[in-house]
């Protein structure tokens, strides 16, 4: 994996996602720039990362859960 691909992968591991005009949660722009191997690696890295985040959070919430709570106003 090249350095540029690593940087794309790292962006995809973030839980930050924009919403489209229809209200649906949009794909991360960097995800579209990864090839299949990069997408697989981003998926596996995210699986581990979210569990690390949940373990480090006092309420056991990953950044995915916290992003959702912000969306629903919780």
């Amino acid at each position: 994996m090249t350095r540029d691909e690593e940087l794309l992968l790292e962006q995809v591991t973030s839980a930050h996602r924009e919403r489209g005009v229809d209200g649906a949660i949009r794909s991360h722009p960097a995800w579209h720039d990864l090839d299949d191997e990069g997408r697989r690696e981003a998926f596996e890295a995210t699986v581990v990362l979210r569990q690390l985040e949940a373990a480090l959070d006092p309420r056991g919430q990953s950044s995915t859960v916290r992003a959702l709570l912000a969306r629903i106003g919780g």
Binding site: E10, A15, T46, A55, S62, I72
Partner: protein, 189 residues
């Protein structure tokens, strides 16, 4: 009424903390159920969209009395969201691959975090070098609310420097945990 039914009732009343507890318990199996779609759709976006739909549907959801009814429904929803997104991208020509995805078996069970593992992760986090630690802290503090460009700016870093430090943080944590006998790929998944 079992625990899941009580959680569902609380969610139906608009209790966001009940939703958060349920979402935290099902996030891993739900995410893993999307593994076959990893090259076809952005599974993080699909997962968030799925969980939002469950929150919206909760007041109308009828529990069938069997274990993990809401999780099973969420898994079906996740696959439907993934397939819709795939079709929206105009990738319908890969019909055979899509059928393989839909046929893939997934395990249906919530996951309870291991307190011993949690302790080891906290220990490793404390040993992180300063810049990777700062990048990790920003992601943890932001909780998905802000993009990496904003987080990098807060640390006075360029986006690339921030991402490189975040990569270092992930690798450091992995190595530190492996030294403590934790294999992340097997312990966590």
């Amino acid at each position: 009424m079992n625990e899941e039914q009580m959680t569902l009732a609380a969610m139906a009343r608009g209790d966001a903390s009940a939703f958060a507890r349920w979402a935290a318990s099902v996030e891993v199996p739900l995410r893993l159920s999307l593994r076959a779609f990893a090259t076809s759709v952005d599974t993080e976006a699909v997962l968030q969209e799925t969980l939002l739909r469950i929150w919206q549907i909760a007041p109308r959801f009828t529990h069938d009395g069997k274990p993990n009814a809401l999780l099973r429904f969420a898994m079906r929803t996740a696959r439907n969201v993934a397939v819709s997104e795939w079709r929206r991208q105009g990738r319908t020509e890969q019909k055979e691959l899509l059928e393989q995805h839909l046929a893939a078996e997934v395990e249906v069970a919530p996951i309870t975090p291991d307190p011993h593992l949690r302790e080891q992760i906290v220990n490793c986090r404390q040993k992180l070098p300063a810049s990777p630690k700062a990048a990790l802290e920003q992601r943890l503090l932001a909780g998905g609310h802000e993009d990496d460009t904003t987080l990098a700016g807060r640390l006075g870093m360029s986006l690339n420097t921030f991402l490189q430090n975040f990569t270092r943080a992930r690798k450091f944590l992995r190595e530190c945990l492996e030294k403590a006998g934790v294999r992340l790929d097997t312990e966590l998944t």
